[in-house]
Structure formats: structure tokens, C-alpha cells
Symmetry: C3
Subunit: 350 residues, 3 copies
């Protein structure tokens, strides 16, 4: 079960250029395309004529043209025209509220009347010229909430990513979790430690020494429906750590959007936003490539969890202090999904 | 549900040479082989000894020899012999009426007592020295009736095959559908138009100019159980079109046989019969290769329809004038399948 | 349904070195690893913390360390430690009785209190310096009992392996089957025949003429849970056959262990033990490579049986004299499985 009345990252802007894109989100097959003004549009990926996937078609004058018999569909899911046919009585298909912000396409899979574009989060790193970022798009064969758990507890870096961002000191540093409304924060601070390979490289990339002790921080923030953004970085030790002057730092925000595809698969959009050398696109690509390897290590573990969950649905997991971030995030999600369903039921009965 | 009392194309002759062929047709696993006279035979692909697939075995003296322990089965599904065994009490497996005509193997999956070889259709293009043809064999992951729909409405050529046989003029020309007994005809005539790439090439292959206006025709004919043959071609404009003298024409019959494998997969036998340059086998191969690309475009669309049908079994499709050929063909099929089932029930109760 | 209270070959020793091995046996996901003394250990492949597969982790000081968050598990399935955690209250996972003998790892998937290492069979060929052997590990997509049938009736060699160990004379020689307690023996003796390719090569490998008539024997022995060992060989004809002096022989024991993975898949460990040129590891590899080809021929037939069984679960197979070995083996298995289940029920009620 998913929270339907929410904005999800559905695609990167570049994935929808002159051709449509078909993608399943929260169980719904959706065709994305651009209208005549280049604005993003999203409709049910289903031709009302004979059921072909609209995303196999093409875009013409800002409408989506079915690749089978040429039914022309507008961004509202209504048939605009079809050669030699009167289309007045054609049934419409669902259209979805969809918005584009700073290179990301956001979809609202639920009740369109409740969709408020102003509720799409505003991120400093996405809007400031001091920052740059990129995310990769990954199809992961597990429940999206397993990825939320993963990102709300970075203890795993010491094990899953021991060759890049992991280091033993993570294990030895306590975490702190707190809930603020529908947001959850988990933080960990480490002092006077060596920089692990990923951050040593980032220090070098930022023209800083990488062979001196550093202070390191990780501050994960979960927000609805399934976004986790993590302030991460290192500063030369003794300069204030997270609060240090930028000249001592290599840091950024690990940007993670999880979008359910089905109950046990999801789309993962992940990357790093940074405010050093923001004008170096080659460095952006280098960092994302390092992360691709890191993410693939996560996917192997998460898919094994999914497999074991399917085999032993009755077994309960432990809830340790390190798991608290994920546990709290799931509670918020569950409460909101329940609310949404009760609200839907009430509307039906009214 | 399939029409069982009917002749289906099961294979091309060349697919059953000295080795047996295993193929599932209308839900039945069947082993095809040749007897001592080279006559085609078809039996249940199941060894009565230990259930191995007979089609993994070999043919010896016109019998099928199980590849596991050497049970020898005749074309009637009875065990002929087995080393060191008395086989008198061995159970038989089903044998199927099967016939070979002009390079095609025809199977009757239903009640053998009703199988009349004389009911296998006779095609001029298959029997006349003025004609030649070849078909490809394709496994398609959709209900065979979606392919019938496809072939009874060639409007789709303008979209699915815009780079070969499609052209905008198709869309702008009305179609006419008529039913005659259990046959359905859909026709479309276009006048004074450019030849699309496939037909321009065919004109050149027939030593005719390809840069002059042509008249073009498409006359689809559906017959039971799921055969669609389409008279197709172009003639230099103003010479009578479909009725023009052969010297102005490149034309032929698009030959399509659909044979259900399961409820949502089928075998597709498709190619072009032509009566120009009939003695040029290289041209036959060239044309079939052009068609392979065309067919693969169809498969992508049809499989997306199947996917959407599975997801939304409740949704009804539109029935426009262009769909009329497929709609009528499905009605005939449904009526005949219902008749067949009632007849079977009556026989059981009698 | 499997016999659970039994020793199964689970892996070759070399498959579990410094990394853990995950393998499903009798429906249970199991992680194998070595403790600090190098002794083999087997636990449920499930981390009690968050359900990740323990086999994705690493081994440290003889314990298994979860690759997700570092939970340290001992060979008894109990949590030894976890960074920053008190683990006293952590639930244990199941550990399995497991033993290593002569290059093979044996697992007892059932009730641990009934596991007696002394019940692991002792094989002369595995313990004598005069002998050598190797087995391959194969994943086969069929019920393990189909492989038992296969090995208890070597008639199939004449058909399935006609290019290696098969020859027509097999077919013409009667088999004898007898039951001794829970063991079943099937034997066949052939006299004054040519050596088939596999055995001709073995004669040459043993510096014996391969172009003279031989006597050949096959004595299959089934023992619980699903082991079939076959005395096989040829001797120059007229020297006593199976009883001949070794100087006239190329012979050995075909070693086959079948270990269920699921109801319709199994792990197959197969090879040849021999007492000629036992000190020639290159010959061992040569023979195993010849066998790999032979086994793959079996797999194709067995998987076709499985497919036909699934399609026609109601059909009964013939039980000929040649099938008697497999039939008797299945009866013993069924009886023992029934006993085991009644015993389990009685224990529960007590």
C-alpha cells in the first residue's frame, strides 16, 4: 500500500524529451510526454481505442499520438482527434497532476483535486547557483521502505560500503534520532578520524589535503512520501566539523527519492548535491559513477531482505536504536496511509 | 478458448525433416515427425512409459523412438515395440489428424472423426507455377485474436510501419467491411498516391518505375479458424488499379496464419505470395527479410495490448468502423466456438 | 515432500572457503561457513536483525558477520555480538548439524537431536589411497526422484548417451533388481561386446587395448535419502568380468548424490571414483569433463519429464521390469517419509 496523495519523483527531465516515456508508478502504468509548450504531461498508458500502450507512440504538436491507429490524446487524457473519426463520444483516460522542477519530474498519483504544486518541496541545493547535483535512475527489486530503512541508518556503510564510504569509526559512534511532525532526523558525528576513500577523493577534488584527520557528519532527514536527504561531509579536524568554514570542507547532500513501482519493486533516484566546484560537470559525473558502485552494493543486500521477507512473512525484525529512523519513518507512513484510506472511504459514503 | 475442430497451420514442412519437432498448439503438446513414406505424423508429446517428451527422441524406420528408454511409437500413437518388453498392454497416446500441403503442415487439434482433409483450403498462390511464396515462423506473446484484429484493419500501417508500408494516405481513405458466411472482407483503395518504401522497392524489383503515382489496394479476407489473406499491391496510376494489367503492377497476397499456442501466446506464420518474378528465390528471401522487420513492429504493439488487457480485463474497447473487420471475425469465432462446445456437451450426454 | 531426518550432500568442501555459501536445501535457505578451527557450520540464511541474507556477509574469527549492519553470529545461530548493542535478548536462528567427510559437506535438515554423524556413510573409494574421485555440482530443474529413477535404470544409456556410454547391447541384456532393507540393487551384465567410446577411452587411459571384446557390468545401489552409487566397468572378455583381475579392467564407481532444493528442483553431485591411475589428477579432470556432457543429456530428458508431469499430474506411468529399481526406491522413500511425519505428529501430541 502506498500513500497516493503525494508528490513523487517520477523521472529526470531528460528522460522525457521528444519521445514519450512509459513508467509504472504506485501500480499505475503512466505515459509521460511534453505538450506544445514543452510542459510535462502524464496520462494513463492506455489507448481508449484498442488498449495499446500510448507510450509506444509519438508526440505530435504537443499531443500524444497512439502508435497503433493514430488516436490523438491531449494532456488531459481526452481524445483530440483520430483520422476519419468523430471522437466526441470517446472515453477519456485518467490524466495525472505532474510538475517539473530543476531537472526532476514530479507526479501525484492520487486524487487530482488535492494536488497542490506548492507542496512540491523546494530544495536550496536545487535552486542555488552555488550548488550542483545529479541523480541516477535505478530499478530496485524490493519494497521502497527497505531503502528508506537503509538510508535512515548509515551504520551499514561500515559493512556494505567498506571500500568507499564505510569505516570502522561509524560503528563506534552513537546515532541520535528525533521526529519533528512528519519528518524524521537521524544524525551521527565522528571526530578526529581518517577520511574514508570516497571522502578522501572528495577532499582532493576540492583541493584539500586528504591525509589529515577529519571530523565527519551524517544527518539523514526523512520526509513524505519517501524522500531521504542526508547532509554528509568531512572537515579538517578541529575546525568546527559540520559548522566549519567551507574552506576546510568537502560536503554535500546525498539526495534520495524512492518511488514505488509495485509492492515489491521501486524506482530509486539517488545522487549527491554539492556546493564545492559546482561548475565542474566532469566532477559531477565522476562522483555519480562512484555512487553507482555504492548503490549496487545496497541493492544486493536489500533484494536479499525482500527475498527473506517473502519466505518468512511472519518473522518480526529487531528494532534497535540504529533502526529508529526507519521505524519512525514507517510509522508516519502507515499513519498517513491509514488516514488517506479512511478519508477515501468517508468520501465514498458521503 | 479455441476452435478445436479446425485445420491450423502447425509448421512449415522444412521444420520437420529427419528429427521430430515439439510444438504446443491450442494448449496441446504435440510431437511431429515423418513416417517411413515421409508422410507427416502428429502425436501427443508424451511417452506412455515415463512421461518424457517424445520430440526429444529420434525417428527410426518411420516410427518415433523415445529418447529415454527406446519405446517405439507409431503414427497412430500406439506403441510398436520396446526392447525386451511386451507392449500389447501399453496405453496409447492421442494421435492427431495432420496433413501437408505446399510446404505447410496442417493440424486438426479437435475430434479426429470430424477431420476432413478436403476442408483444408486450396490457395491459387500455393498451387500455381505463376506464383511463389514463403512464410516466416514467429512466436508472439499475445492472444491470436489481437493479430486477427491487426490484419483486418490496415490503418495501423500508417503508424506502426511508417517507414515501410505505411503512408498518410491510408488514414484518409475509408474502409469497407462485409461478411459473407464465415468469411469477412475489409477493403481499402487509394488512388494517385506515391508508393511507400516497401512497394517502391517491389516496383523496382519488378522492373517498374517507382517514382510515379500509383493506385494502391488492400483487401483483407478472414477465414476460420484464424487465417487472414490480404490482396495487396500497387499499379501505376490510371491503369485500373487492382484490375490493371500485370505489366503495370507489383502485387501479391499477404499470407497470414495464426495458430494459438496458449490463451495468450500464438504462432504466427506470415509472408508474401507474389506472381511476379516467381522464379527468383533471392527476391523471395529479400521480401521476407523486409517483412520480418515489419512484423516485429506489430509484435511490440500487440504485446502491449495483451499487457493492458491483463491489467484491465474489465475495460471495453471502442468498436469503430475501422475495427469492424476484426469485430466481425471475433463474432464468427465466438459463435462457432459456442456451437462446438454445445455439440460436445450434447455428444457427452447422448 | 522430503525425508528431513537424513544426511544430504550439501556442497563440495571447496565451495566453502573463506567466504560463506548460500544454498537452499529441502526448501530451507542455509548459510554455510567455516569456524575458527576451519570446521564447517550451517545456519539459517537470515539475519535476526533485519532479515538480510547472512551468506552475503563475511567470516571473521570463525563467526559469520552480517554484511548489512555487522551482527556477528556463531556456528550455533546465536548472536555473539553487534557493535554498540547488547545482544543478550536477540533471537537465535536455526543451526543445522553439518559434517565434512573426504571433500563433501553433509547436512541434516531435520530434527538436530536425531542427527548422528556416525550415520554418514563410509565409502571405500573415498577413504582408500588406491582410489580417487571428483564430483561436479549441478542445479537440475526437476524432482530429485526423477534422477533416482534415471540412475536405477541404465537402459537409458543406449538412447540418451548413445555417443559415449550407450550401446545397443544394453537394451538386449536383462536387468535384475533386488531389495535389501532400505537399499535397492539393480544389476546388468553384458558379455563379449565392444567397449563403447567412454569405456574404450578409459581402457586406453589405463594402458589397456580398447579394440578387443569386453565384458561389462553395471550394479546400481540406491540408499537413503537419495544416493545412487553404481559399480561400472569393463574387463577384457573372458577374464571373469566384474570378478576379473584388475590388470584386465577399467572400472570404478559412478557416484551420485541427489539433494532436493525444492519440490521440483535439486542439486546433483555426480562423478566417477576409480581405482586405476588414482594419482593422475589430470585424468580425473578429463573424466569429469566427459561426464559433464553425459549429465547434460540427462538433464534435458528429466526436465521434459518434469514439464509433462506438471501438465498431466493425473497420468500414471508404466512400471516395467527396467523401472523396478526406481519404483522400489520410491516406495522405500515414501514409507520412510510417512514414518517420519507420523513420528513428528506423535511428538507434537505427546
Amino acid at each position: 500500500m502506498f500513500l497516493m496523495n503525494a508528490w513523487y519523483v517520477a523521472a529526470k527531465s531528460g528522460e522525457v524529451a521528444d519521445k514519450p516515456l512509459g513508467r509504472k508508478i504506485c501500480g499505475e502504468n503512466i505515459a509521460f510526454f511534453r505538450d506544445a509548450e514543452g510542459r510535462i504531461a502524464a496520462v494513463d498508458d492506455y489507448c481508449p481505442h484498442r488498449g495499446a500502450a500510448m507510450s509506444l507512440g509519438r508526440v505530435c504538436n504537443g499531443n500524444l499520438v497512439c502508435g497503433y491507429h493514430g488516436l490523438v490524446m491531449g494532456r488531459d487524457g481526452k481524445t483530440v482527434s483520430m483520422p476519419m473519426q468523430r471522437v466526441g463520444g470517446f472515453p477519456s483516460v485518467k490524466s495525472y497532476p505532474v510538475e517539473e522542477r530543476n531537472g526532476l519530474i514530479w507526479l501525484w498519483p492520487g486524487d487530482p483535486t488535492q494536488a497542490d504544486p506548492a507542496a512540491i518541496p523546494h530544495y536550496e541545493w536545487a535552486n542555488s547557483p552555488d550548488w550542483t547535483y545529479d541523480v541516477g535512475v535505478f530499478h530496485v527489486k524490493c519494497d521502497y521502505r527497505l531503502m528508506v530503512d537503509n538510508l535512515m541508518d548509515l551504520t551499514h556503510e561500515a559493512y556494505v560500503h567498506s571500500d568507499s564510504i564505510g569505516q570502522d569509526e561509524i560503528d563506534l559512534s552513537p546515532v541520535n534520532t528525533r521526529v519533528e511532525g512528519d519528518a524524521v532526523y537521524t544524525s551521527r558525528f565522528m571526530y578526529d578520524i581518517p577520511a574514508p576513500p570516497f571522502w578522501a577523493a572528495a577532499l582532493r577534488n576540492n583541493d584539500l589535503a586528504d591525509d589529515v584527520p577529519v571530523d565527519r557528519w551524517q544527518i539523514s532527514c526523512f520526509s513524505l512520501p519517501a524522500n531521504v536527504h542526508i547532509q554528509v561531509g568531512v572537515a579538517h579536524a578541529g575546525n568546527g566539523g559540520f559548522e566549519a568554514d567551507p574552506k576546510y570542507k568537502a560536503s554535500g547532500v546525498a539526495v534520495d527519492f524512492m518511488t514505488p513501482e509495485t509492492e515489491d519493486t521501486h524506482w530509486y533516484f539517488g545522487g549527491l548535491a554539492r556546493n564545492f566546484k559546482a561548475d565542474d560537470p566532469e566532477l559531477t559525473e565522476t562522483i555519480l559513477n562512484r555512487q553507482r558502485k555504492i548503490f549496487s552494493q545496497d541493492f544486493a543486500v536489500l533484494e536479499s531482505q525482500q527475498h527473506n521477507m517473502d519466505k518468512h512473512p511472519d518473522r518480526r525484525w529487531l528494532m534497535l536504536n540504529i533502526d529508529s529512523g526507519g521505524v519512525q519513518a514507517r510509522r508516519i507512513l502507515e499513519r498517513r496511509i491509514k488516514q488517506e484510506q479512511e478519508q477515501g472511504l468517508a468520501l465514498k459514503q458521503a
